[in-house]
Symmetry: C2
Subunit: 375 residues, 2 copies
C-alpha cells in the first residue's frame, strides 16, 4: 500500500495542536521524538527537532546533510540545518528570536528526552532566559490517541505484515534452532513483505517463557519447549503488535490449560473494546477470567497499551501511565487502537501470553492481527 498524506492533514493537526497548547499556555513546543515530529510534519528523524508555535508556525532543524531530503518529505514554514550540537542549539535560539518568543512556557517531551538531552535543549545558548520548560507529553498523546481513518488503514497493513512475520517464524521452528534464529525468520519475512523496520522482537522458549521481557538469546529450543514470539513491524511509519505461542512437540496439560485460560481472557476482553469502555474495565475483564481459573497470583504486567506510530503509546493503564508521564486514560472511544494481552500468566517454570492489535469500534472491535491461536 502506497501512502500519501495530503498537505492539509498536517495543517489540521497543527491547528489542533495549537488549540491544546493555548489551553495550557504553551507558547511553543520543541519536539525531538520522531513519532511526534512525523505526526505534525510528515517527517520524523534522529538528531532533529520541530518547533510548533501557538500561532501554528512550524520550524524544523536537521543535520546539514538532510536539508534537501526533509524539503521533499516534510511540511513546514522554516527550515534550519546545522553541522553539530552547537549549531543545533544556536539554530533553536535563532527560531525563538525569529518567532519573537522571549518568555512563556516551552513544551518538551520528558518521556523521550534523556536528562542530558534535556540539558542540551535548555542550554542557556538554546533559549531565552525567561522561557521556562514543562513536559508536553500529554498534549501529544491526546492528539495522537484517536486515529484518523487513514491511520487505521495503515495499521491494518502493519497488522497484515505482523501476521506474515508470525507465520514465517512459527513455520521455521525446529529443535536445535536458537531463539535468535527464530526471531530472524520473523523479522526477515516482515522486511520482505514490506515492513521498513520493526521494534525489538521477543522470542523466549522453555523456562525463559517465565520472564517478563524475553529478548532472544542463543538458547537452542528443544523438544517439549513452549515458545513465546512477539513481533512489532513498522510499515509506512505505523506499527502493529502480535504475540503468539507454539511448541516443539506437545505442550504439557498445565501449559495448555493456562494458555486456553489466557486465550479466553483475551477474547472476552477484545469483545469489550467498544466505544465508551474504560481501560480499567478491559483490565478487569482480562484479569477476571485469569483469576477465576485460579491463576490470580500468576499475573504480571499491565495488560493493555495504546499503539500507533509507536508500538507503545497512549492510552496506558492508569498506574503505568502515572510513572511514564502520561495521563490516566479517559474512556476509550472509536478509533483508538490498543494492543491487548501485554501481561501473562507466569509460573515458576514457564509462562503464557497472547497479544492482538485491536481498534476500539462503535459497536464492535476491529481486530487487526489475525494469525491463528493454535499452541
Amino acid at each position: 500500500m502506497e501512502v500519501k498524506f495530503d498537505k492539509q492533514v498536517f495543517g489540521k493537526r497543527v491547528e489542533k495542536c495549537t488549540k491544546l497548547m493555548k489551553a495550557e499556555d504553551y507558547v511553543v513546543l520543541l519536539l525531538t521524538k520522531p513519532s511526534n515530529m512525523y505526526y505534525l510534519t510528515g517527517d520524523g528523524r534522529l538528531c532533529a527537532y520541530t518547533m510548533i508555535t501557538a500561532q501554528g508556525q512550524v520550524a524544523i532543524g536537521v543535520p546539514e546533510t538532510d536539508g534537501d531530503d526533509v524539503q521533499e518529505l516534510a511540511h513546514f514554514d522554516n527550515l534550519a540545518t546545522f553541522k553539530d550540537e552547537i549549531g543545533m542549539i544556536h539554530s533553536i535560539a535563532d527560531f525563538y528570536k525569529h518567532f519573537e518568543i522571549n518568555k512563556g512556557v516551552v513544551g518538551l517531551e520528558y518521556t523521550f528526552l534523556t536528562n542530558s538531552m534535556l540539558g542540551m535543549m535548555t542550554h542557556p545558548h538554546a533559549k531565552p532566559d525567561a522561557v521556562i520548560v514543562k513536559d508536553c507529553t500529554k498534549i501529544m498523546s491526546e492528539m495522537r490517541m484517536v486515529k484518523e481513518p487513514i491511520e487505521i488503514e495503515l495499521m491494518q497493513d502493519a497488522a497484515r505484515i505482523a501476521d506474515i512475520g508470525m507465520e514465517a517464524a512459527i513455520a521455521s521452528i525446529k529443535a536445535g534452532m536458537t531463539e535468535s534464529q527464530i526471531a530472524g525468520e520473523g523479522e526477515y519475512a516482515m522486511r520482505q513483505a514490506g515492513a521498513e523496520g520493526f521494534w525489538r522482537s521477543y522470542v523466549a522458549s522453555g523456562v525463559r517463557t517465565r520472564i517478563a521481557h524475553g529478548i532472544p538469546t542463543n538458547y537452542k529450543v528443544k523438544h517439549g519447549d513452549i515458545i513465546i514470539i512477539d513481533l512489532h513491524p513498522i510499515v509506512n511509519n505505523y506499527s502493529s503488535d502480535i504475540c503468539r505461542m507454539t511448541c516443539v512437540g506437545k505442550a504439557s496439560v498445565n501449559q495448555v490449560r493456562a494458555y486456553e485460560t489466557y486465550l479466553e481472557a483475551l477474547q472476552n476482553t477484545i469483545a469489550k473494546a467498544i466505544d465508551g469502555v474504560g481501560m480499567v474495565d478491559l483490565e478487569q475483564t482480562l484479569h477476571g477470567v485469569i483469576q477465576n481459573a485460579g491463576y490470580g497470583n500468576n499475573i504480571f504486567g499491565p495488560p493493555i497499551h495504546g499503539i500507533g506510530i509507536n508500538f507503545e503509546e497512549a492510552p496506558l493503564p492508569p498506574g503505568h501511565a502515572f510513572f511514564h508521564g502520561e495521563k490516566a486514560p479517559p474512556p476509550l472511544v472509536k478509533n483508538i487502537p490498543i494492543a491487548i494481552g501485554n501481561c501473562g500468566i507466569y509460573t515458576k517454570d514457564w509462562g503464557v501470553r497472547i497479544e492482538d492489535t485491536v481498534v476500539v469500534g462503535k459497536d464492535k472491535p476491529l481486530i487487526l492481527t489475525t494469525y491463528p491461536y493454535d499452541l
Copy 2:
C-alpha cells in the same frame, strides 16, 4: 564461542567501581542502563535496577517474573522482586534502609534515564530526603572504556559476525530490492551465525546516501545506485560496527574518487590507533586527508566513537562528548576499541562512508572488521 565470565571478574569490577565512587563522594550508584548493570553483575535487563554501595554491596531489583532467571545469571548480594512501578520504588527505598544510607550523593545515569524515569527513581517514596542525586555517566564510562582481554575476544567474535552480515547483505543486492530487504538479509545472516541481536541497521541508497542517518525505507534500489550499509551485531553481549558501500552496476567517477579518498583517510587513521594517540589526532588525520582532496566542506559527523557492550559508548569526540554527558576523551590507550569512519563525505546528490571496528594497540592497531572495501 561460548563465554563464561568468572565470578571474580565481577568482584574486581565492583571493587574498581567503589574506588571511583569514593573519589567523587558517591555513597551509592543506582543503575538502570542494561550495559552498565551487565558489566558489574553479569546481567542487564529492561525494567530492572542495580544498586552499588561505596562498600561494594550489590543489590538488584527485577520484575517478580525474573527472580529465578537473574539468580542464575547475575552476581549480587541482595535481590528484590517487584510487581509494578510502585513496588519497584518501594524496593529501592528498602535497599537504602537496608544499607543504612540516609544521606549523601546517589549516582544516576543522566545519559540513559528519560526525565520521567529520573522522576521515578527520585520519587519521595524511592529515596531518603537527604540523599541527593548526580550524574554518574562518567564513572561508568571510565570503568568500561579500556577493555579486558576477554572483552576484546568477544568483540572479535562480534566483528566476525558483522563481516558475515555484510557479506550476505552485499551478495543479495539486485535492482528492485528495497533498502529494508537488504537490511533484512544482513540481519538474518547475523542471527543465523550467532548474533543474539543487533542495534539499528542503516541501509541508504541512491540520493538517500547523502543523509546522516540512513534508516532503511521501501525505496527500491535501481541500476547505478550506490548503497551504504551499516550493521551492528550483538554477540554474547558485545557489539561491533561495520559500514561498507556497494553499487548496483557502476559508481560514477566522482563517487569513486570520493570513496577512495574516504578509504585512504580511514586507513591512515586506523594506522594511528596506537597507545597514547589523542581522539583529536585521529579526527584530524581523517579530516586532513578528506580536506586535502578538496572535500573540506563535505564532511559531516563526528568520525569516531568508542564501542563495547554498547555500539556507541565512551570515548566520544570532545564536542560530542560534552553534549552527551561524557568527559572529553583522555589519550587513548591499549585495549580501547573504537569505531572509525562514523562521519562521511556528503554532496548534494550522494554520500560515501566506510567504518571499521578497531582496537587501540601497543604498537599497532588490531583491526576487528575485515570485510573487503570494494565499492
